[in-house]
């Protein structure tokens, strides 16, 4: 049966999945060599984060048929990364994670092109994110997830029946781990719940009341937080505490030890001090491998349709035995981020400046320092200074005029909002309707522009 033996091919195993028809596949699955080649040629994937999950994701995606991958990460390699971030070696400590990770994977998997971006996710212009077919998140912070989610959701457009337009859906695959536990999820904005719809899955961190720290400390952590949050500022007026400066950490540790001795409280160690101050989440290679693999597979399934995608949230728990559970969460139909947008009724005379001020007080938005854009055109930009200067003259103009006298349309607003006392970047979609000329324009549109 010599003719049945396939010629040697790098995609020997993947071909089985991509070239053959199946019964348990996605709705748009069209198996064949063309599908495999299209994945290689056209699919563009962005990996956000080049840490524990990111390193695994880059490897997994490169070996799952993807050839055009970008990775973005603002961090540099640290010694404590080496127990799991397998693309890094001791001699890489101090170098940018994104650059080293991209280089290592390209060295080993020929034909793969990985473009590193060593910067903050907020540093990229919003359209940068629209260039990718799928965004895969390997992050350890809620704020960063929330930001990327709002960016991906901002591309989503709704038709006149408030149904999401399929071609504007930017799929995201999100993973997270802690010790032996983790989660993997698929987010199809407008179809499945977005990160913000189920934000309750990530309860805010519990903080100790300041009076406990100051007056009735009971645990080692109380003594450490006293040194970190109260004593530091008292002694170093104005100098910010840097958790990555070993001398700062040592100072906090010494003060915490003294306080613990004073009150007869046991258990202050240097390791605990670091853990409490930096809020260290324990992490191991195996859990990152499991979660990243699940995310990479979902990415392949979304891109190719070769199997049904996860609906829509998988939790993995290896603490006691092994439990894998899939939950189908539902969308919050009133979600400010993935919904059609907050509706704002305005008088046609309202100026852009007045509108920006209004966003600050709007109870659902509370966005300060807002930049505004309409259909890709910058109406006003807070930064960089060049753009600010160029758009400043718009502030005194009527928003209605700036939006080309359309009576009802979507605009995008970026700015900062504060959540749990912390300032975070945010991106919101708003539906602006101008009151006075409502009927008139309806007729205009009906007439066909």
């Amino acid at each position: 049966m010599a003719d049945s033996v396939a010629p040697p091919s790098r995609s020997r195993d993947l071909d089985k999945l991509l070239l053959r028809n199946g019964n348990l596949v996605g709705p748009n699955f069209e198996p064949g060599a063309e599908l495999r080649d299209d994945l290689q040629e056209y699919a563009r994937i962005l990996v956000v984060g080049a840490g524990g999950l990111g390193c695994e994701l880059l490897k997994d995606l490169a070996l799952s048929g993807f050839k055009n991958i970008d990775v973005i990460d603002m961090d540099r390699i640290e010694v404590t990364n080496l127990n799991r971030q397998f693309l890094f070696r001791v001699e890489d400590v101090g170098k940018p994670k994104a650059e080293v990770a991209a280089k290592r994977v390209m060295e080993r998997v020929s034909g793969v092109n990985i473009v590193p971006h060593f910067c903050r996710i907020e540093d990229k212009e919003i359209p940068f994110y629209n260039d990718f077919n799928i965004i895969v998140l390997g992050l350890d912070s809620i704020e960063a997830r929330s930001y990327i989610n709002s960016v991906a959701c901002s591309f989503l457009e709704y038709d006149s029946d408030d149904k999401p337009r399929e071609e504007t859906i930017k799929p995201m695959v999100d993973g997270g781990t802690e010790g032996f536990k983790g989660h993997a999820r698929v987010i199809m904005p407008g179809v499945t719940p977005c990160f913000e719809c189920t934000i309750w899955l990530f309860p805010p961190q519990v903080k100790f009341p300041l009076c406990t720290l100051a007056e009735t400390p009971r645990t080692a952590a109380h003594c450490i937080e006293y040194a970190h949050l109260i004593k530091w500022d008292e002694v170093h007026s104005g100098k910010a505490f840097d958790p990555d400066d070993p001398e700062h950490m040592k100072w906090v540790y010494d003060k915490a030890v003294k306080r613990a001795e004073l009150f007869g409280i046991p258990g202050v160690t240097y390791s605990l001090t670091q853990g409490v101050v930096k809020n260290i989440i324990p992490a191991i290679a195996s859990t990152n491998a499991i979660i990243s693999a699940a995310c990479a597979l979902e990415t392949l399934k979304i891109a190719s349709g070769c199997s049904k995608t996860l609906a829509n949230y998988l939790t993995y728990n290896g603490v006691a035995g092994l439990h894998i559970k899939v939950t189908e969460f539902v969308k919050d139909k009133d979600c400010l981020v993935c919904g059609p947008g907050v509706l704002i009724e305005l008088d046609s005379s309202v100026t852009l400046e007045k509108f920006i001020n209004l966003l600050e007080d709007h109870p659902k938005l509370l966005i300060s320092r807002a930049s505004v854009s309409h259909r890709g055109k910058n109406l006003y930009m807070q930064a960089p200074p060049v753009l600010e200067e160029m758009t400043r003259s718009n502030l005194s103009l009527a928003l209605y005029e700036l939006m080309d006298k359309v009576a009802k349309d979507t605009i995008h607003v970026t700015g900062t909002t504060s959540k749990d006392g912390k300032k975070t970047s945010c991106l919101r979609k708003l539906r602006v309707v101008f009151k006075a000329i409502d009927g008139v324009t309806d007729m205009d549109t009906a007439g066909g522009a």
Binding site: L14, L24, R89, R218, S286, I290, G318, G321
Partner: protein, 513 residues
């Protein structure tokens, strides 16, 4: 050198220095280094496992480069074991890595005693026949064994050890041990020294809830002929009584007391799980009993005597609203009792060891202390032989899962994986392994699956056409992402087996992606 400690910081926070030391002492043998095996070892090498031995007889071909990150162009035509081993060594030079270019099947057949030198064997991509043989060899040599298999979009991880005993199971949620339902004299005495009706509002709201509950329970008992609340109504009344003691709306300690009041009502004594362990036949110790069972024997004796039906006290208390002074004093009282319980158990352990003719000091103080602290969370896992699982399954359980919507896919693939192995034994290839139409393989696999089911005693049960089709489509492909997933699970299990912490998986784990 301080560096390994920094490098391993994020994992030391999980399994501690003892767990790390156990990993660094362990020697692991890997059978077959395709992506499933390579990825399993990668996760262990990064964590600083003692030594690895990679066994694989094959040479690297082009297809291997598409699913295994550890192989690149320069490896083509080379020994796969050698190439994978070299990459793994690069990840961590503290690990001793070596390889043997030989097919595992041959080794299992010709040199069974080879495996006894290892702490644990990870056997990947083995077919049924070799699994059964290897399982017997490892069981006899008392070597831990984990099977891992990736097959298309499905896979399997199965642990096989005769007995795995766990002291530090470290569960996510476990109720603290405050003994509010059964306070010992010193704790009662301490509560007596505190006036919960103190006038000073600052002192009032800084009385720890442990003291509040003890005193209010005593008050309740006085007016209820010495008994504690037991009915729903009584429990409600008890909470009302607690609330009536507050003097301001912001007294967090009283809120905590109401929330924790169930600790007063809960039944005394040990849990069913612990009872099962102390009643285990292994608790009747002999000269070759393990240290674990010697300590269980001591624990059993303690519970029956000094313990008065209770396990040794853990000694730690959760944080609660309190003045520093009350809290620290309370902590000391719990610690003193835990220390006394420990000494009593230690004495028993030494006596038992002496009676068994063993060195009385052969179990360290630290081990006994850890055992006492974790005595309510002890675990014992036992696995039957793979051969038993295959030839003597629980038919009712199997049938239940075959028809249960949540499990039918996983069990379906479990059956089909076995059918695929049988198929391979008959036709010298896996269903769908080669190019060409799948129809013939589909019908052959279906017949084989019916045969497997009937041998298992599930006559009349079937696996759905969809799954059979999928299985043929998979054609025994080892996809990288599936291999990384399965390898990740396998490495978690290895870590739990070697550190003897957390809890390993008790049943074959199947994952359909």
């Amino acid at each position: 050198m301080a560096e390994p400690k920094i490098k391993y910081d994020r994992q030391l926070r999980i399994w501690g220095e003892q767990g790390q030391a156990a990993l660094e002492k362990a020697s692991i043998c890997l059978l077959n280094c395709g992506p499933t095996g390579s990825e399993t070892l990668k996760n262990l090498v990064l964590g600083g496992i003692g030594s690895i031995t990679v066994i694989d007889g094959s040479k690297v071909v082009l297809g291997d480069l598409g699913n295994n990150f550890m192989l690149d162009e320069s490896c083509l035509g080379e020994s796969k074991a050698k190439s994978v081993c070299a990459f793994l060594q690069e990840l961590n030079d503290a690990v001793k890595a070596k390889f043997i270019e030989e097919y595992p099947e041959a080794l299992i057949k010709t040199n069974p005693s080879f495996f006894s030198q290892f702490t644990l064997v990870v056997a990947t991509q083995l077919v049924e026949d070799s699994m059964v043989k290897l399982d017997k060899i490892c069981r006899e040599a008392n070597v831990m064994l984990i099977f891992a298999r990736s097959y298309g979009l499905t896979g399997l991880v199965r642990t096989s050890v005769k007995e795995h005993t766990v002291i530090e199971s470290k569960p996510d949620h476990f109720l603290d041990d405050l003994r509010l339902n059964n306070p010992w004299p010193e704790l009662r005495k301490f509560a007596e020294t505190i006036d919960i009706n103190v006038q000073d509002p600052v002192a009032h709201k800084h009385t720890p809830y442990v003291v509040i509950l003890l005193k209010v329970a005593e008050e309740w008992a006085k007016i209820h002929q010495g008994s504690l609340p037991s009915t729903r109504e009584e429990k409600r009344e008890f909470k009302e009584l607690l609330k009536s003691k507050t003097i301001a709306f912001d007294e967090d300690n009283y809120k905590e007391a109401v929330e924790a009041s169930f600790k007063v009502f809960s039944s005394r004594g040990i849990s069913q799980d612990l009872k099962q362990i102390i009643d285990d036949s292994q608790a009747e110790v002999s000269s070759n009993s393990s240290n674990y069972w010697v300590m269980v024997a001591a624990l059993k004796d303690f519970i029956a005597n000094e313990g008065g039906g209770e396990a040794p006290l853990e000694g730690s208390i959760p944080d609660m609203t309190s003045s520093t002074e009350h809290y620290v004093n309370l902590q000391k009282i719990y610690q003193a009792k835990a220390e006394a319980d420990f000494l009593s158990i230690e004495q028993r352990v030494r006596n038992i060891l002496k009676k068994l003719g063993r060195e009385p000091e052969s179990i360290s103080k630290a081990t006994i202390k850890s055992f006492c602290r974790n005595s309510r969370k002890l675990k014992v896992c036992r696995y039957r032989l793979i051969e038993d699982e295959f030839s003597n399954p629980s038919i009712t359980e199997l049938q239940k899962y075959l028809t249960d919507e949540d499990y039918s896919v996983a069990v379906g693939f479990y059956i089909l994986l076995r059918a695929a192995d049988r198929f391979a034994a008959n036709y010298n290839c896996f269903p769908g392994e080669f190019e060409g139409p799948l129809d013939e393989d589909i019908s052959r696999l279906k017949t084989t699956a019916v045969g497997v089911l009937s041998d298992l005693g599930c006559n009349g049960s079937t696996v759905t056409e969809d799954l059979i089709n999928e299985m043929c489509r998979f054609g025994a492909a080892e996809l990288h992402a599936v291999a990384a997933f399965i390898g990740g699970i396998a490495s978690q299990e290895v870590i739990k087996l070697i550190t003897k912490q957390f809890l390993i998986s008790r049943s074959p784990s199947h994952a359909m992606e």
